[in-house]
Symmetry: D2
Subunit: 418 residues, 4 copies
């Protein structure tokens, strides 16, 4: 009989995972946990134990669909279970602090979606909790997934190797267009109590983190403008779009935007209490000038995260519209053959790439999360500190706070709290 019983490829410890929230981010994280072990040689085996959400029917469906062994309507339950070692927080920002701190105190490793929290105070409390937990070998990581797009990982390597020399400019933008239509309803992401801020915290946070990650420097201060172009919007929930996909009250413990919608009339409106767009200038510890723009009103730009660094010896440029490419200009080359080269970041020598397909076979968005999962598991297994840490997340939060402060204060230069 040649048929063989299933046997683990190696005898490895299990890492039980409990995920809280199962909307957009819950889907990306589930896909990562489901995939990571098939592509990477991991020292421990991830085990998708429980997904938690508030609505019983929905969380059960999510569990079945996303591959979790069990569903729960109470995230606190997960902290008591011995078979769960990692809490993966995919809820709205407003609930991050409570869940993360409780999980760390319960001795669970934590992966927390960005932004780390809705306020610097919450983020600081989380960072303190993480520091304390670290003493017991418990790790905490914040989910700035774009760091692990291979092209951006490569960009970081080039900077760290000195290929760019002294950084002079950072140019970062994150452009979307999903609420250009004034009839787009007032989803939770447009309500300050739930979302903390608007484009600034949702997408601006990513480019702020990337600027620090790629340069290896710190942002020291900002000058900013924020704007809300459409101040009143219909209540209700959109049929599609980012806001709609995440508009799940069961994951946040908060009333959903739109619960008071008069569906028959369609005349009820509510006030947008977050920014639609944020633009800001910054300086870094190394003396670079940085410009940032985060907006949901860049018509035709769907998820256009782009960042460029110019240094004394070279430059890199990245555009998420072609996420497997890194553009690199080496200024030390003869001018006759110098130019920005398109590096297709799928060679075996590239970050993460040897785990995947032959060169030239593109990876998609979701595998930034797979790489995140892989690196977190490695960190847990080896007892090292994963990046980005809660400290990193706190710093981003303080930069966002400085942006809001400057915007409220006539764009006055505002140092980032340290």
């Amino acid at each position: 009989m040649s048929s063989l019983a299933h046997r683990p490829r190696t005898a490895r410890p299990l890492l039980g995972i409990g995920m809280v929230g199962h909307a957009f981010m819950g889907r990306t994280h589930s896909h990562a946990w489901r995939s990571v072990d098939a592509f990477f040689d991991l020292p421990v085996q991830p085990d998708m134990r429980v997904v938690a959400g508030r609505d019983a029917a929905r969380v059960e469906t999510a569990a079945a669909r996303l591959g979790w062994a069990e569903a729960s309507t109470d995230w606190r339950e997960l902290l008591d279970r011995d078979d769960i070692g990692l809490i993966d927080i995919c809820t709205q920002g407003a609930s991050h602090a409570e869940i993360a701190i409780a999980a760390l105190e319960a001795g669970k490793h934590v992966l927390c979606e960005k932004p780390l929290a809705n306020t610097p105070a919450e983020a600081a409390a989380m960072a303190r909790a993480a520091a304390k937990a670290a003493e017991n070998g418990i790790v905490a990581m914040v989910g700035f997934n774009y760091r692990r797009v291979p092209a951006l990982s490569l960009a970081r390597s080039l900077v760290a190797e000195g290929r760019l020399g002294t950084i002079r400019h950072v140019r970062a933008r994150y452009l979307q267009d999903w609420i250009v239509d004034p009839e787009h309803p007032l989803v939770w992401r447009l309500v300050r109590e739930q979302a903390g801020s608007g484009a600034l915290g949702d997408i601006g946070a990513h480019i702020v983190d990337l600027a620090e990650f790629l340069t290896g420097e710190r942002i020291t201060g900002v000058s900013a403008i924020t704007e809300t172009f459409v101040r009143e919007r219909p209540l209700g929930v959109a049929g599609s779009g980012i806001g709609a996909q995440a508009a799940d009250p069961s994951t946040s413990g908060l009333p959903a935007a739109g619960t008071t919608t008069d569906l028959t009339a369609g005349t009820a409106t509510g006030t947008v209490t977050v920014d639609d767009a944020a633009v800001f200038l910054a300086r870094t510890t190394g003396g670079a000038l940085a410009t940032f723009e985060a907006t949901r009103f860049a018509t035709g730009r769907k998820n256009a995260l782009s960042i460029e660094l110019n240094g004394s010896r070279g430059s890199v440029a990245f555009d998420f519209a072609a996420m497997n490419d890194l553009w690199f200009h080496d200024h030390t080359e003869p001018a006759a053959t110098a130019g920005f080269r398109r590096i297709d970041v799928t060679e075996p020598s590239h970050p993460y790439a040897s785990a995947w397909w032959p060169p030239g076979h593109a990876l998609g968005y979701e595998h930034s999360f797979t790489h995140q999962a892989r690196d977190l598991i490695e960190a847990i297994a080896t007892g090292s500190t994963p990046e980005p840490s809660f400290e990193d997340g706190l710093r981003v939060q303080r930069i966002l706070a400085a942006v809001e402060s400057s915007a409220a204060n006539q764009s006055l230069w505002t140092p980032v709290e340290t």
Copy 2:
């Protein structure tokens, strides 16, 4: 107690899958079977039962890593099992006919990797077996996965809707560079007995199929040149690359290239017996001129599948280097604002896209296989005929044969056998 036992989201029948071969294509197919149920609402639930391979240790490892419940060293065993309804053939082309025909005769649905076979005769036998099996509601599909890259699915829709008018030109290229180095070893893909042909069958087959798929027309004849630039290569197996990843004798039943390698000396060489490149001209039933190029010697082009169609009313262009984009020119627009537009094929209204992420979040190469899995499951559940069929695969095989015939006959125009 709020924790809930796992329950299927719906009560659905299972579709047990047995996969033969677990190299490059086995990995893509496994990822598809593992993922498809999480993203699409499927009428039956795929069940990854058994993976078969020749080497016991390797197939066991593959099963564990890729998520198969069992491993087997005998693919025939899979045909006897009642819990397996679909045989997924991911072996080298030389073994396709034997496995596929046996599976169809055993009443199993079949998904067979491309090219359908190494010769038109084999492919014809397979098509006959598929036709016979269809009488009993058994379906067969060939794995031209690129049809299900959303941008190419959209291109097909635009052509079918008449947005391009009468097609005048097809311009298709598939360029790679993985054997530019003459020291690259003689892997199985360079041996006629195992691979059938070289660049022609491996990658040329894809663009031939796409040309017919996108136009909805048939290729009627060809004029061709093929070339082998490097005729002698070292024996042995490369450390990386497409050839190496698939050079698994356990999956083919054939001796591996390189089994006679003198590893200590490294001086033994063998003869390349397939083409390194094939270029050919063609006409279609609708009167279009088509040009094709398939090569493994396009230095710097890693997996550069590109295709453009020009019609009397418009054009579409696609380049796999930016696989989520379709370029569309609508020639009926005023000239002042006409131009090729970059459609980011990630809107909910785009093929397959509503299953995934919000607009602008790129999909990767592997989800062409996920979409293939989804459509095959739908076809099985609904009793419809999946495309591309074995007839489609046979036609591609006959075109490839015409190419080889023309190339051997001074590029003389060679009608495609019908």
Copy 3:
């Protein structure tokens, strides 16, 4: 006898031109005057009478090379001549006010290179002189040549036609890298007395003007940072580069940078007294947010002027690296086929294009000046007011002044003087 004496194609009045300065801008203007009559049907015939410069030998050489009938070492001489109707000022900014005002008072039409002046006070005086001259039918124009790149002219048309709706964002950058090397000498463009400002006035002025031109709105205020990355540089004149080409003391009446250079030692350095880079935020009268960046330290970006506008109904994007292309996104189209389209702005229906080559035959940088010459001649002939006017130039100057003021005042929001 079939040979025919030369006869004008039409009996047209002559417009005698006197040009002051013959460095980089003098070369572009001369090419424009030499070419414009061959491509456009002009109501008057431009006549290249005299070029003025300070150094006799150099200006003579320039006259012969650039196609001027005569050379002069005294620009005032040109104002006395009856055969000169237009003074074309291509000198450094420091001398613009004196020459332009004298010319206008002498009843000459004036074309003045940008920036209009080195200070708002000078610019205001010039604008007053222009207003007064206009009463006598004398016109004045400032040379923001990029307005007449056909792609940008088309962009303006689309905005004016309402194709973009309400403008929400302007994103403008002008990136160069010609002084990245700290050994690049202290040319005149790096000296405040001669250049007024650095990247801000030299290239930032262009994107400020374009922002107002394209939107049809006014910039109301700014928040800014400026920076000088390399504060000490060797004296002397570079062998090549923008600065070197224009470093002609004969045209400015000012001592040239580097006249005190110790060529044997090469150790003498001087202080850079202008900005290397300026970044700023702005708002427009229509409520849009605008971001600007002008720098000479964007390694690998040679002359990278780019600008994008996002409106409620659509967007346009332009990058000078592909100066014949305008990218246009029409947001009113069905999402399934919407996307930024590349309009090759060379169709007969496009601005200026019918004068040139068949569609698809690119124009170069210099023909923005040819178009400027054409439009100025048309304005002179028809008695209409050419744009951009000295008022437009003054407004740009005031915006630049607000930028410098904000930068000196902790980036505080600074309204633009009106």
Copy 4:
């Protein structure tokens, strides 16, 4: 008195030029002669003496507009004049041989537009005349202007320096769409007697020449298809477009297409007697495979000349849509940072570029002719043989003839006559 009489910058001999034909090519050549002396340091001074055309009124207008001192209705007259040293032939191909041979026999240097002639026999006679004239120091050049697009000149240099190694592939296309509309009239370019061939000779000639120029190799044989998609077209002359611009009977000595048009009825049609498209395969002396496509039916592609070379050590790619860019992949670099780099071919160290503007300031289409004029003048002055020679033009003609022969003979492999 500081005003200075005009003096030549140097005492240089004059080169009197007589141009025959003043349609599209006459305009580009005139612009080149008018501009070249302003940008390049030439050993002789071009002197635009006479333009010849058949229609007196039109040629007079052309002379005035394009800058020629005199107009003539008899090109033979130009051969008798002592003040004319160079005959520049810009007529339709049918008249090239007669004019060029007469001019060479009259001891005039000749620049002849491409294709050299309408048949190999004519071209051979021209090449013989050129060889004979060369014995007397008379030079002849054929106007394959694209060789002198700086990016393509640079590409040739890289190949010549061995940066590409052994060339494996050439991929050349020239796509236009100006007669996609079946109502486009039967202009002279669609009539075999006048145009020789269709897309093949008009634009295919360019890419054939470029393939040989860039590789430094010879095309040894071809396999081809040609096609005429629209076989009957209305008589008459189009209001715009390439064909219309050149439809000048005065320059060709031939009756114009459309002279029999019934303008009132619009029902008269005529037969297209040339190809609309030609596709062909080729081999080179170095063993490369080459593919070519020339068509006027590539909807949305206006003047899309593109060419790529893949060699054992690297690749270059060029697309006229971004004519100042050359893409270069250096395969000898580490894979981690290798990729096609965009070289902006405007650096002082680039071909022709130091004559123009600072880096990053794009040149347009027409300056390929300016560079051609410059190189021809240099060759005349130094007594060297300019390239491409009439021998080069003859070889192109023979390749085109082989294409037509193969297309008429079932695409059979057809060696190029030598």
